[in-house]
């Protein structure tokens, strides 16, 4: 079904260096901040730095939640790495504000997962959504590919929200967006 539009500028990101609050829509992980940090440090150090910046309760929550994923994380598993980066930002966000938010997985993560048929990236995000009780959002710039990818998913969360540019789509796709059980949110400039 089609939901209302959101403006690009209404979508915030989590910044560990600045203590500014974000709105109701939050894209995780903060890809551009990570890209900047990557020029000066390793992926593991980025995770460690963010972990150390969290409060004690968040630290313990993260450690407990990730016990089953430790082995995969040490093996540099990509989907687990994305999950941990997202979880760090979700915890940081929850420390700042108790208000419920729509956390949206970044389009670069979603679209790469689509291209490489890596369902674990999405499954891990859905796991985070059920753990932290938020409606999972997925942002994509390849809506046609996304719908085909989702058609092979074994189970989709009932409250899944898909954020994309819904304009400039062909008629069949536009008609489908209206009748789908998935909530679609149009993103505009």
């Amino acid at each position: 079904m089609l939901e209302t539009e959101i403006k690009q500028k209404e979508i915030g990101t989590v910044n560990f260096e600045k203590s500014e609050s974000v709105g109701n829509y939050v894209v995780v992980p903060n890809v551009s901040a990570i890209a900047r940090e990557m020029t000066g440090t390793s992926q593991i150090m980025i995770i460690v730095k963010k972990f150390l910046a969290l409060g004690w309760i968040s630290k313990i929550t993260l450690m407990v939640n990730n016990m089953p994923f430790v082995f995969k994380l040490l093996k540099m598993d990509y989907a687990t790495g994305v999950k941990v980066l997202c979880e760090l930002e979700i915890l940081r966000c929850k420390e700042k504000s108790k208000r419920s938010k729509l956390f949206i997985l970044h389009s670069q993560m979603v679209d790469m997962a689509l291209a490489l048929n890596n369902r674990k990236v999405m499954d891990n995000f859905f796991w985070l959504a059920s753990r932290y009780k938020f409606a999972p959002g997925l942002m994509t710039k390849n809506l046609g590919f996304f719908i085909k990818f989702m058609s092979l998913a074994k189970q989709l969360p009932m409250d899944l929200v898909v954020v994309s540019d819904l304009k400039n789509q062909n008629m069949a796709l536009s008609e489908y967006l209206k009748i789908s059980q998935i909530k679609f949110l149009n993103i505009c400039e």
Binding site: K75, M76, D77, Y78, A79, Q108, D111, M112, A113, L114, A115, L116, N117, N118, K141, N142, G144, F145, I147, K148, M150, S151, L152, A153, L156, N168, N170, M171, A172, L173, E175, Y176, I179, S180, Q181, I182
Partner: protein, 638 residues
Amino acid sequence: MVKKIFITGANGFIGHNLVNYLSGRGYEVYALIRKSTVPCFDLKENVRVIRGDLLDKESLEKNVPQGSVVINLGANPYDPKLSYLVNVGGTRDLIDVCKRKRVKKFIHTSSQSTKIRTKGVYADSKLKCDDMIKESGVNFVILRPSLVYGGGEKGLFNKIKTLVSKAPFIPVFGDGKCKICPIYIDDFCRVVECLIEDSNLKNEVFDVGSRKAITYGEMYEKTIARINGKAKILHIPVTVGIFFGRVFELAKLKNPPFFIDNVIGSTQESFCDARKILDRYRIEPISFDQGLTKALGGNKVNLAVVGLGKMGLMHMSILSTFRDAEIVALVDNNQKLYKVIKSMGVSGRFYQNLEDALRNEKIDGVFILTPTLSHYELVKTAYKYGKSVFVEKPLCFDYGQLKELRKFEKGNEVVTNVGYTLLFKRINRKIRSIIEDNTYGKVVGFDAKFEYGEVLGPKKGWMFSKKMAGGGVLINSGPHILALVNYLFGKPEGIKESAIRKIYSTEVDDEAKMKLKYKNFMGDVFISWSVKGVNIPRTIIDIKFEKGQLWSDGSIIKITTQEKKEVLIQESAIAPLYQNIFNINPDVSGEAYGLEDRLFIENVKSKNLKGDNNLSFALDTEEIIFTCYLKSNAGNGN
């Protein structure tokens, strides 16, 4: 008038392939899918998704078009209660609706299992359904297909394929000597199209399959041989199969490995005879061997990717979306990168050098996505093995390499494409067609700029080392804009003036300017990576024609005519060269990267050596760079 086709079970294996096939043939397709599912067929302009169910009569009543052809593929495969409810009750409701809507033809997919002696739930419900259809008074065609198989992630054959590729042994019920006539999905779709178009057809029942029967045992053996050649066939007595089928049924598994119906269906002869329908429409289905090759992607273009960094990952993501290409080898000297890349879902075996990959894998093309310094040796290695190459720009590191590669321009029968991405942007292809059309007269001059703000202070890394990169912005970004200039205006006759300068870098150039000389006009080119406030690379093209002026910033074309009229063309209004190109990142020409990869695959398949970004074009483009360096004595012009 366009025929309207209503398809139930449109999201199943046969269903989604049939929707794609018929919509591709111009039919108006109404595809019925269950409410909880997401369509897996192509959502083209002439496809309408209908949410409903054979058990939801209202959805049928509301959506079956008047005077259409209805194809009933919806069925429940094994649930004792649901099978009868859906297969018999649902079909009865559909027939009622079809009668009221004066449906021209009712094509029903039954099963070969309706002909076997001992029937399971599915076979029995299908037989009851067939009898009901025959009595109904609609103009029917009942199809009894043998195994319909093909590629993709759905259907019985996909289950077999997955089992064969993963399990150490393959369970075959009984002695495996029962025969089937497997038909490839495309052939099945052709049969259905013939049935739709045949106006003389009235109340017929057809077996559908290939002409040549094979045993279940042979089918498994052939599939095993094609996939890994290691799995062993394990014959399981029918009673044991039925026992496990019952266990899965009682456990209410959503996706059991097999149903009881599979056991009894595969151990009794059904004597499929498809001659009647194949002769009627003169269809010669492909053999199982040919079909297997197609289903397993045997005709794919096999690729090696060298360089698993940022560019490597981007190209690998795009290439993974192509059904006709497969990455079979990943080459990098850093094995750690491979672990991450593999966990991301990229296929292919790892090699530390290209030569090993070329010796051990069947490779058609090599993607070279490494730092410039290594391009030349890698290209030569690929050429040595007669392989096509796609190289990220720039192709050459210095003038010496360029001269050496000139030797391969003639007589080299492999495709060489270089990643000059701007050539594949819709807007730039449109600008070229405007120039070629001569709508505004001949070109009398141009200004071209490529600028961004990446280097705004001293920077470290291989890109800023003259020894490693060969130069600065001119060799790094110059190929983009100079390739575009060559693509739009052809090879210049010479360089009238050129200047390069350092702003922040100590070893390499941060800015380059040149005046290119053509037969009847001059063109100015400016390249810089040190322009403050420009976060994303910006391409500006300003062309003066005899009867107007064209300006573009890469997203819009603005034409001002002699009469001072303005014409605006947005990139989104220009039709893409290919539909459904994966756009890895729209902010940085993602579609163009997808298109250049797509065209490379097409060029390899058709052995087309004349692509826009071929070897000669690349050498002509990069010669400008090295000539500029030579003139200024600053980069690798020597």
